[in-house]
């Protein structure tokens, strides 16, 4: 082969100018994606740094063991923290069985037809209803109408309202987890002479459980920050005691935070920041638990 032929081949394989331009476009797009991806992280980081600087110094024993006070150095979040824990526990107890049962019905039992379609569409719509609307519903139904049962403006009324709020999200998450259980498992179970209930009980639910739990925790971590519906049903903004039972009056962390930030003194702003830290820690631990559960029980079929 002659030298000329070699040169010709090299010329064809070297980067043509057009390709340089195309590569540059690709690179620009990659950077744009990186910037948008980073935006969320940066915002969270700024938020965290800001509240930690403002509030970390106020996280002491008094803060966790005292009720709020008009004197900032004596104020604490005990009632709000207890209220949040009460509320979340009740919400979990109410919404988890209802949500899972609804999802099992829709996925395993309901005949595909107009009824199922109507229920499904309504659940999807309910998931988008503003939370204040649930507050109005809770006020009318749980506080006023069923007041004798729930104790009126009680932690139970709040829990029922918040449960309604997160049920659609929980049902949809549980449905997805149930749908992810392969049909081959159901076939195997039915093929052995198992009834529908035995199949659901022994195979579908255990295999869907990690997904259901993840969805539940994420739904709860959304609920933990809800304020509007609770204000609507009359959760108190100033409360000096912890709830003793589900029929007691209560307040929650977001309402306490709102109460503090709306005061003029700087010290209350710091208290609010400290309470935000507590709320964020609760929320992030719940999310971490969800991720841990997902990884721990992730199935390979």
């Amino acid at each position: 082969m002659t030298g000329e032929a070699h040169a010709a081949v090299e010329f064809q394989l070297s980067t043509p100018p057009d390709l340089v331009r195309r590569r540059r476009m690709g690179r620009i797009f990659e950077l744009a994606c990186l910037v948008t991806a980073a935006a969320g992280v940066v915002v969270l980081a700024v938020l965290l740094v800001d509240v930690i600087v403002d509030g970390a110094g106020w996280l002491n024993r008094t803060f966790f063991t005292r009720p709020p006070s008009r004197i900032p150095t004596r104020a604490g979040i005990l009632p709000a923290l207890a209220g949040t824990i009460w509320l979340m526990s009740l919400v979990a107890l109410i919404s988890f069985p209802l949500g899972v049962a609804a999802a099992v019905y829709l996925e395993e039992y309901a005949e595909k037809g107009w009824l199922q379609t109507i229920i499904q569409t309504n659940i999807a719509n309910l998931a988008g209803v503003p939370s204040i609307v649930y507050g109005i519903l809770g006020l009318a139904v749980f506080v006023r109408w069923m007041g004798g049962l729930t104790g009126g403006r009680s932690v139970l009324s709040g829990a029922l309202t918040i449960s309604l709020l997160i049920l659609p999200v929980l049902i949809i998450a549980a449905q997805e987890a149930i749908r992810a259980v392969p049909n081959s498992i159901r076939d195997a179970s039915y093929g052995l002479g198992a009834t529908k209930w035995q199949t659901v009980r022994h195979h579908v639910l255990p295999n869907a459980l990690p997904g259901i739990l993840t969805g539940t925790i994420l739904a709860l971590s959304r609920a933990i920050g809800e304020t509007a519906p609770l204000i609507m049903i009359g959760a108190l903004t100033f409360i000096a005691f912890t709830p003793e039972g589900p029929r007691d009056a209560f307040t929650v962390l977001p309402i306490q935070i709102f109460n503090w930030v709306s005061r003029p003194q700087d010290d209350f702003r710091h208290l609010a920041a400290a309470a935000i830290i507590v709320l964020l820690v609760l929320l992030l631990s719940m999310n971490a638990l969800a991720i841990w559960l997902r990884n721990r029980y992730e199935k390979e079929w």
């Binding site: 081959s184 179970s189 093929g191 052995l192 002479g193 390979e300």
Partner: protein
Amino acid sequence: MSTIRVTAGGDAALETRDVSVFYGSNEAIKTVSFEIPRNKVVALIGPSGCGKSTLLRVFNRMNDLVPTARVTGEVLFQGEDLYADHVDPVEVRRRIGMVFQKPNPFPKSIYDNVAFGPKINGTGGDIDAIVEQSLQQAALWDEVKDRLSASALELSGGQQQRLCIARALAVTPEILLMDEPASALDPIATAKIEELIHQLVADYTIVIVTHNMQQAARVSDYTAYLYLGELIEYDDTNTIFTAPTEKHTEDYVTGRFG
């Protein structure tokens, strides 16, 4: 098409009479009538979409689980129509076991996979003994006896399929339906499954769907050839593969199409 009968001393484990299966308005099986002799292996062959698997699922009422499916005609099992009103499909599936195309062990231990059937059916008796016996029947016991509590998903594909067979045997069915049980396996694992079929036929009637004509020739006593939902020909396997009556059958088994 008239009833095609193969009689083994008149002793049929299953008999279909004018069975048709509809998916919506689509007729997937068209008035099939034939007999499956007791303690024999019957192979269902035919090109993809001919209805082999649908017909197999008629026998243990798995089609009931498909909302749009509808079965007409009679399927006689021990003199009773499986589709009669008083027949409970759950009981049918306990008496007529099934092994699926893709090995589908439960994501549980080897022991729990086999024990599940006897437990839910409340068979009673010694579950440990049933598990051991079933695994032995499926020629898997020696390979897993030291790790019964290990996950079934750790087994190889061939072992998983034999586990699925053991699981089906644990509820003591009378008939075993196999839907392409070796199609997802390598040749060595396939050979093991086929050997197992030879052993099991002493105690069970086996109906096997297969894509693999050599496999049908090797394992079965009788072969049914289906095409577009119709039973074209049914005879003993030797005849089907060497001297079929129908031209269509001959074209298929000699590999001229399909």
